[in-house]
Each structure stands twice: as C-alpha cells, then as structure tokens.
Symmetry: C2
C-alpha cells in the first residue's frame, strides 16, 4: 500500500478552489481576446540551454532539471517569458508583427516553500511583440484595468512609471555604469526610508551624497500624474531620454482617459524600477487598496529586445503577467469569491427506482434548455439525496415520484429560499417547468 | 547565441492551432459542467512511487523521472487516472460521493516519436467515482455523445460492450485463469481474422479448439443491440456474471434512447475488451465514420476499484477520456475546423497619427458593446494595415481618417464580402456604428 500524498510545495485543487480558478482563467482569456490577443502554448520541458542564464541566478538555482532518457539536458520552464522569447525567435517569420499573444500555463520553481508560495503555479501572461508604439503601452494598461474589473475588483491602483525617466536622470548624473546598484538601493526606499536609502546608495553604489539626493528627489515627486509630470523637468534637467519618457507617460495617461479608465485607479510612481535591468520603458504594478501587503497582483512593462539570446533580429515588446493564484487568495480574503461547489445549478432526485428512464429524459430536457443538471445516480432515500444537493450548493432541486410523473407534475424546490412549487411537466410539454426553473434561477 | 528549438517529440502551438484547440477545450468543459462534473487539478510532478507500477511496463519505461533538488525521487504524470486515484484516496473524506470530476491537463510520455505522436499531450478526462449504479454508465455514454456533437461531429459510432459478458463466458468455459492471453488474442480479431485468432488462442492461451470456437462465437454476434442481446444467452449459457452484464447493457441502451441519443450512433460490439484487466464493466470506444483508421477518439469504461493501491476503501468508478489532439487532427482533415487566426472580429485601422485618442475611444466603444476589437498599434500606410488585417482573418475593418472623425463618420468594411458602408459615428452617439457591425457579423 502506498501512502497517497503530494510533493512538498505542490498542491491539489479541489472543486471548491478549482471552480473559481477556472472561472478566473476563463475571464482572463475573454479579456485578452477582446483586444485581439491570441492563445499560444509551448512545451513544459525545454532544452536546458534555452532556460539557463535567462532569468537570474535564483531562477537557475530553482530550476527543475534532469537528463532525459535520450541523454538530453532538459529543464521545466520557470516562467512564460523565456519560452516566449524562444518561440518568437523560432517562428517570427510565420507569426508576423505585431504579434499579440496570451499564454496561461503552469510553471515550476524549486523555491523554499513558505506560506502561500508553491513550487508549481499558474502564469497568465500577455505581450505584444514587434512594435515600439505608445499605443501598445496604452493597450497593456487598458488590459490590466479590464482584467481587474472583469475579475470583480473595484478598489485597486495601477502604479505606472517609465524607466527612461530614471535612465535619463542617471545619464545626466553620469551614473549609467552604476544603474543596477542604484536601482537596487532605490527599490528599498518604501521599506527603509529616505536617509537609509541615501546612505546605502553611497556605500553600495559608490555615488556621492549629492547624487543620491538628486536621485531621491525624483522619488519624492508626488501628486496627480499631471502634477508630477509638471515637476519632473526641474528634477531631471534636459536629458533627451528622460524627456522622451515624460512624453510617453503623458500620452499614456491621455490614452487611458480617452478609453475611459477612471483617473483614481492610476498612480504615477516615479520611484518604481521593477526588474532592474529587464525593462526599458513603461512599467506597471497593480495593488489592491484593501490588501496592499500582498504586493503587486499584475505587473509588467516594456522591454527593448526580447529575443537577443536566440536571434539577431531586434524585437521590442510590452506586456504583463496576472498573479492569478495571488488574486484568488485575495478574492477569498475579501469575500468576493462565490462559494460554489457545483457547476450545474439544477439537482434532479432519483426518487422512484423503477423510473430511471423518466429521470434521464427529464435531465436531457433541462440540459436541452441550456440549463446544467445533475441526476443523482442512485435511488437512495430522498433525505440523503437532498443532503447531498445542499452540501454541493445546488440552487434548485427537481423532485418527482412515480405518482407525480404519472400525473404530469414535478416539484421545483428552491434550495436557498427553502420554498417549492408544483409545476405541470410531461416530456412532451416541458415548457412550464423550464420557465419555473429559469424564473427561480433569475430571482 | 543559442539556437531556438523545441525538444524532439515536443511542439509549439501557434495561434492558428491553439485557437481551435482552446475552443475545443472550452466546449468540453461546457459539456462536463452541463452534467454537474467539477474541475480539479493535480501537480505535474508526483512522488515516483505514486506513479510507477500503476500503468504498464511501457508507461514505467516512458516515465520522465528524476531526483529533485531535495533528493526526492519524482516523476511527471503520464496520465490523469493514476493522479485521480491518488487524489481520491487522499481527499475522499472531504469530497464525498458520488464524486464527479473532469480534468484537462498535459501529460508526458517519453515515447518513440512517430507521425502525430508527441511526448507531451493534453488529456481530457471525466469520471464519476463512488457508485456502481447503471445510471452513471448511462451518463458516461450521454456525455461522450454530447462531447462529440458539441465539437461538431455528426457521423460517428460509439462502440459499447460490458466486460461481464466476456468474464461470464470465460467462467463457464473454466478459462478465468487464462483471461489475459485470451483477451489479448481476441483483441487481434479485427486485424488477423477468425482462423488465425483461434489458432493463436490455442497456442498462446492454451485453450482447446472447442473453447476457442465458443469465445469466437461470442465475437461473431452481429446486428442491432436488440438482436445481439437476444443472441447472447444462447452463446453465454447460464453464467450469473454474464446475465448481469447483459441486463446492464439492456438498461444502458434503454437509458440512451430515453435521453434522446439516436440509435444509429450506438453499436453493441461484444468483441472489444479494451485495456484488458483494467475495466470490469461497461466499455466505450468511439470511431469516426469518415476516419475509422485513426482509432478510438473517446474511450472509457467502468472499473471496480480505483484506489486499491493507495487505500483499503473500495471505490468503483466509470469515466472516459477524450482524445483531444487526435480529434483536432481529424477536424482539420475533415475540414470542419474554422480557419481563424484572430480572436477578435473587428480590426481598427490607426489611420491618422495625431488622433490616437480618438481610435482608443472608438475601440473602447466597440468592446463595451461586447465585440472584440484590435487596434493596429502604428499609424502605418492603410494598405499595409489592411494586408495585416486580411492575413489575420478579421471579419470587419473600421476605417476613419481625420476628416471622417471630424465629420462624425466611420467606414465599416466587410473584409470577407469586400463591401463597405459609411456609417454615422461620434463617441457620444455610437449606436449606428454598433448596429452596422452587428449586422455585418450576423450576415
């Protein structure tokens, strides 16, 4: 006998968790498709050299890698961005540009397990490859906003920045070489405050106190996007890169307003650097007003060259990744997750053991009207069947014994309101029953 | 520079293949939910001892296995049935019975690659666990039928048998010990014919010529289900097991008829044994009338005890597996696969470079009406944009330059009919435009 168990850091999804998860994934697909993004899929396993050295030392260390039966070094994908780069480099001639794809698939990382972190999780990415147009930056923002509202969130903020603003400032301060350590220090600002950040910038990045002050002056810009955009030129000076970044930010906020995104859901945050050397243009992070501590639930941005390790072609792109499992945990915490344990609203009791055919016909009739229906498989006691129906969360139970069936009747029971009505029903004339079910479902 | 490539036996799914694949998966989910089946998910990786020895020597040999960074022996799942058994044994107290689940997920097998066979493929399973009722056998059949018609197939046959009929015959002939070699020979009947099958049965299974003749007499029963069911008692004799099997087959055909399954789509085929020692009751195989050679596209049956290796509890079940990738290949061959390369029907040309906001507003308006719309990201030449729209297969293009926008007009172009009309449009009064798009999409 083998003990049934999952691997450490892995989890099973039972129906009560998988039903809302599947529904959220379907919502995401619907949003992506609304903007003309197309689905793709790539293998879980890749040649090891395709995966290593593409993320960070950490992702290399966390990689699930092995030698397959054919002696090949292989690895399980740790994100969907590296496979996208490989995919685009391999197929771009056939795909054409702009290439807009979404990809929902599991990824694997051998992380140290901690609360809410798993070694297998669902990634939900979308990217537009092959254009540098600000229209794609704006579209990315619109999709993030649409994803959040379509999933049922109202109180959230999308933080926006453009890496060119920071890059421009560092150019002017002659700190381009120290970009990485400067940004790494800057990322700690929300946690350790201005003074400690300035000190660390001097010690770790080797900048002067004056330079640190100027970098931190940028991060201190606050207010509405218009106010910040008005302050920036004074902080940045005449850096061409920064001016271009400021202009793109202006276009981004104007475009979002034109497409109807409420201004209060957007925040210009010139201190976020996200991903350090990865992003080159706009950057997005999304925070829930009611659960800011869980971190960004949808992040992304623009990168200059996706495929540089696989191809000489230059392909810019912009996109983002939805933290699906994190969002589902948040929905549960905020109690906006519907507690459904069934996928069909109607339960049909198998009441009279000799009339299975009649119940099968009844179930087929309800389903033909576009309403999901589950028929209990055994003619057990009605009380036991209704207990099952209650525990699964069905909305409606249809109950008919031999007498009712013979007399052309069926009881329609609202399992939530605990009310019931008797309705005329024969297989030839099911209309009244279907109407009664629809009425009850709509109430 | 690393050459972008996939592993041997693995494949990328480009949008033109992934769009219909995703749509078929969604159709399958819709069908499963219509019968009250719930989604679950399990990890791609399992403890090695959970996976080995559960399938065949072949699946053991094909297993992707390795030692993870924590020194654990792990394997990638090769089907969804073994993980279901582990899952049910682990969670049955919480799940309760009947437990009806569906599971769509990739599985991995290091098979020798050949035409159309991949080392990673999508499984699409549904099972009802915890009841022996014939109502569940019937429901399994209904779902197979519903899956096939919902996916667009009309010409197919579901072959049905019940292993109890064969088992009963073998009991009467005192051949229970030789069940496996007898069935293995019987499985070759369609390929090598009666005489050679009889000869092999004698040599490989050690049965007498008379016993072989009686087994083959069973396989020779032909006609409508009623005709075969009438012939069977004479062939089988008075085996209790066989009589029970015959009765369940009668109930199955009666139930299918009651639920409205056309009789011509069902075939009672008492020679199919499928899976040898795995199934214990009803067996299903589904063949396309127009492509019989691709083999069964949806197969399954009833098994006595799913969880025996993980738990002492006895849990019978019945279910089937849809061969999604095989069916998609068939749909392509039969030309019933829609050639769509876009997920949104409407293309919006970015015509006047200074009016991005107006196009963003237009796109938002179309999407708010529930119609997917893609905005071209760059103000390139109109000809180039329309060429892109054509190549992607959009249905409709919206074209408006600065003049049209100023005058409150927009051109609606039917890219398939090559016709166009000018429609009044302003962001404040978009109704006429939306109506024109809906009309064109419906035509």
């Amino acid at each position: 006998m083998i003990t049934p168990r999952t691997l450490k850091g892995f989890r099973d999804y039972l129906p009560e968790v998988m039903i809302p998860r599947e529904s959220a994934m379907q919502t995401a697909r619907t949003v992506f498709r609304r903007y003309g993004f197309c689905p793709i899929d790539t293998p879980a396993l890749e040649h090891l050299d395709v995966l290593t050295g593409k993320g960070s030392d950490e992702t290399d260390r966390q990689l699930y890698r092995f030698v397959d039966n054919g002696g090949r070094d292989v690895g399980m994908r740790f994100d969907l961005t590296v496979p996208l780069a490989r995919f685009v480099a391999q197929h771009i001639g056939k795909l054409g540009t702009p290439f807009k794809r979404y990809h929902l698939a599991p990824v694997w990382r051998g992380e140290n397990t901690q609360a809410g972190r798993y070694r297998e999780f669902m990634q939900c990415d979308f990217d537009c490859v092959g254009t540098q147009s600000v229209a794609s930056d704006i579209e990315t923002l619109l999709i993030i906003h649409d994803l959040m509202t379509s999933l049922g969130f109202e109180r959230f903020k999308i933080h926006i920045n453009n890496r060119q603003v920071l890059t421009g400032l560092l150019e002017r301060l002659d700190l381009v070489e120290q970009t990485l350590p400067v940004l790494r220090s800057l990322d700690k600002l929300p946690k350790i405050g201005v003074e400690k950040t300035a000190a660390e910038m001097c010690s770790a990045a080797g900048v002067t106190p004056d330079q640190a002050e100027q970098v931190l002056k940028l991060a201190a810009c606050e207010g509405t996007p218009e106010e910040i955009l008005a302050q920036l030129p004074a902080v940045i000076g005449d850096s061409e890169t920064a001016v271009a970044g400021i202009e793109r930010l202006q276009q981004l906020f104007a475009g979002a307003a034109a497409a109807g995104v409420p201004a209060e859901r957007l925040k210009l945050d010139v201190s976020i650097a996200r991903g350090l050397d990865y992003y080159t243009g706009v950057i997005f992070e999304t925070f829930l007003d009611d659960l800011p501590k869980i971190g960004s639930v949808c992040s992304g941005g623009r990168y200059d060259n996706l495929v540089s390790t696989y191809s000489k072609q230059s392909l810019p792109g912009v996109g983002a990744s939805l933290g699906l499992d994190r969002l589902l945990a948040a929905m549960e915490q905020l109690k906006i997750l519907p507690a459904v344990r069934t996928t069909a609203p109607v339960f049909i009791a198998y009441f009279d053991g000799d009339r299975l055919d009649a119940y099968l016909r009844l179930a087929a009739t309800v389903r033909a009207a576009g309403i999901g229906a589950e028929l209990y498989p055994e003619p057990k006691r009605l009380g036991q069947q209704l207990k099952y129906a209650d525990s699964r969360g069905f909305r409606i139970a249809l109950i008919a014994g031999g007498t009712e069936l013979a007399e052309g009747r069926c009881q329609v029971k609202d399992l939530q309101a605990k009310s019931a009505e008797d309705v005329a029903y024969t297989p030839e004339q099911p209309e009244q029953l279907i109407q009664a079910i629809k009425r009850m479902l709509a109430s």
